[in-house]
Symmetry: C2
Subunit: 362 residues, 2 copies
């Protein structure tokens, strides 16, 4: 427990969204105070002791924020590296800046994963039409062109179904630096929620099966219908990434499951250096949630048990879905979470609901 922050210490969180909100509540449960820094007021502002509104580029404000807290963490992977460095000059930033560097750029991320020997889809960097044509010649169509930076929930992507005249795809992503990814046939997506402590200990939640709709996570179900061997392989991959990054906190690793008949049944899609939507079920189905374990890790505490007392299906409430709250509130076994956002725009994550069921054997 050397270096563990005692209750009463202040956790600083960069980002004021719903992930920051749920992190803040978990921190409060352990007796921490929370200071959130966001570029605009957000859902986290309603549940914290202190808040700052400022640009992430305002390094003076970032420095003052870091001075007011005991450790800094973040709820999103696009924290500018300059902000992370300014904070790290004052107080520990966990997970460390290397995780941000890797996760902010798809090309850097793919190269990193390849270099440590993990399976990813065939990929190539694309900065021009020439690059794209070369990449398509190697990888073939169908393939997906994705911006290296700032894409999420299906944004910044173009699916290329024919290798002929692919220039439109560069248009579609605004000619940003990009990576072309070969198409991976898969049965479904899973994710691994790995928590690594300050002392290098790792624990991993049970693996959910994730389904998407319109490029946005729709449901996460535990347990996923995978064999013990596949689960172990998935966990070993996530652990390898966490160790290679000397990671502290929750690391989410999305993987495609290609089927039991494949020589390599798993291909890594992407990583997120933060708590993850596909782990929200841990709030209700586990004694200790991903949010609490992230806080424990960044505070230098021993990690908590990841054991699960119930099976669970987490369903996101996207846009106007949240207006169904009155009916959801009466569903048996439903645990309702609403993020306190005012405007239910299409595609906006407004809340989630987790349905608990008694444990069954796998």
């Amino acid at each position: 427990m050397t270096g563990a922050l005692p209750p009463g210490s202040t956790i600083g969180i960069l980002g004021s969204g719903q992930l920051g909100r749920m992190l803040a509540v978990a921190a409060a449960q352990l007796g921490f105070r929370v200071h959130v820094y966001g570029d605009a007021p957000g859902p986290a502002f309603d549940v914290v002791a202190a808040k700052t509104v400022g640009a992430y580029e305002d390094l003076g404000k970032i420095t003052a924020f870091a001075e007011s807290v005991d450790v800094v963490t973040y709820e999103f992977e696009n924290v500018p590296l300059g902000a992370a460095a300014a904070a790290a000059a004052i107080k520990p930033v966990r997970p460390g800046p290397r995780a941000l560097e890797v996760a902010q750029d798809r090309l850097v991320e793919k190269r990193f994963l390849s270099e440590i020997g993990l399976p990813v889809a065939p990929f190539a960097g694309v900065d021009s039409l020439d690059d794209l044509e070369d990449a398509l010649a190697t990888i073939g169509a169908p393939a997906i062109l994705k911006t290296c930076r700032l894409g999420y929930d299906g944004k910044g992507q173009a699916r290329i179904t024919s290798a002929e005249q692919p220039g439109w795809a560069l248009e579609a992503i605004g000619h940003a630096p990009a990576v072309l990814e070969g198409f991976v046939a898969f049965e479904y997506e899973i994710s691994v929620l790995c928590v690594r402590g300050l002392n290098g200990t790792t624990v991993i939640y049970d693996v959910p099966l994730n389904k998407h709709q319109d490029g946005i996570l729709d449901t996460s179900t535990v347990p996923a219908p995978i064999s013990d061997a596949v689960r172990e392989r998935a966990c070993a991959m996530a652990t390898r990434i966490a160790e290679a990054l000397d990671y502290v906190g929750v690391l989410a690793v999305e993987m495609f499951y290609a089927g039991a008949d494949q020589q390599e049944p798993l291909v890594i899609n992407e990583i997120a250096p933060r708590v993850h939507n596909s782990g929200h079920w841990t709030l209700d189905a586990c004694g200790i949630s991903q949010f609490e374990n992230h806080i424990r890790a960044v505070a230098g505490w021993p990690l908590g048990s990841v054991s699960r007392h119930s099976n669970a299906v987490m369903t996101n409430l996207i846009g106007v879905d949240v207006q169904n709250w009155a009916a959801l509130a009466t569903e048996p076994g439903a645990c309702l979470h609403i993020y306190g956002k005012n405007d239910p725009r299409p595609g906006r994550k407004m809340g989630h609901v987790t349905h608990l069921k008694a444990l069954t054997g796998r």
Copy 2:
């Protein structure tokens, strides 16, 4: 759902302690904003969108507070009736002022319970030495003299073991208006956590067995080792009280269990018109906690399930107990809650820990 407050509404809470803190977090989970009013900053202030420090006698501030929220509830039964009335003139106050009136005065409470036909210990009001001697002549010793108002956690009480020269007991409680209670032989204490909705629906959590140390709750264990018949009788008593008070929210009823061989195995000790320490295990052992169900009730929502996915033992962390946080954080099945108070004074509730175990049959 007529009259239900939609997410985004503001819940007002009178009281800034740990109960207010856990209520505020539960409200936030449902998408509500929270405004806490306290006579001093307290643990709830760290997790809310808005806070006011003011005396409960400052009816101007209470009125302004009520105007800023959509419904008012409270975390302690000693809210001055004047404050409750001032708030009720502006917005609904739930539970209603009648519950406060009854719960604030032991004599009023005992008379109310007797009048609705529920078993309480023999009692008599005591305003003078003459009263006390008369009461002892009827009730006999041993007996307990308790102030009518403002006693809690064993304070404001004197145990009289002999009927002779009882004047010291009046001294001990500062000659405050009091009630003499006959001593009840009991095997253990249980409590019933009853939730009544705005539409009169009632749900009741499983009944915990409570153990005290130095007059302060030490542990609550579910399930309590009582028969189904006793459990049903306990729940029926709590429901009767809630209905008689036209109650909205969580009502806690503490009862003595005198043993299976008694004609009347249960005697009501006292009621608390609020969420209760003996219900803290619901945070970790149920999909929906007492705090969420209280918020649902006062917001006019349908009540949530009270079903329990795990057995549980809740242990209070009193005073310096909380300094054991590092060891508690590693105990298997332990869910740790620390209230964010600075000074671990003897007798002060600093946090609690709930140990979960897999469900077993009763």
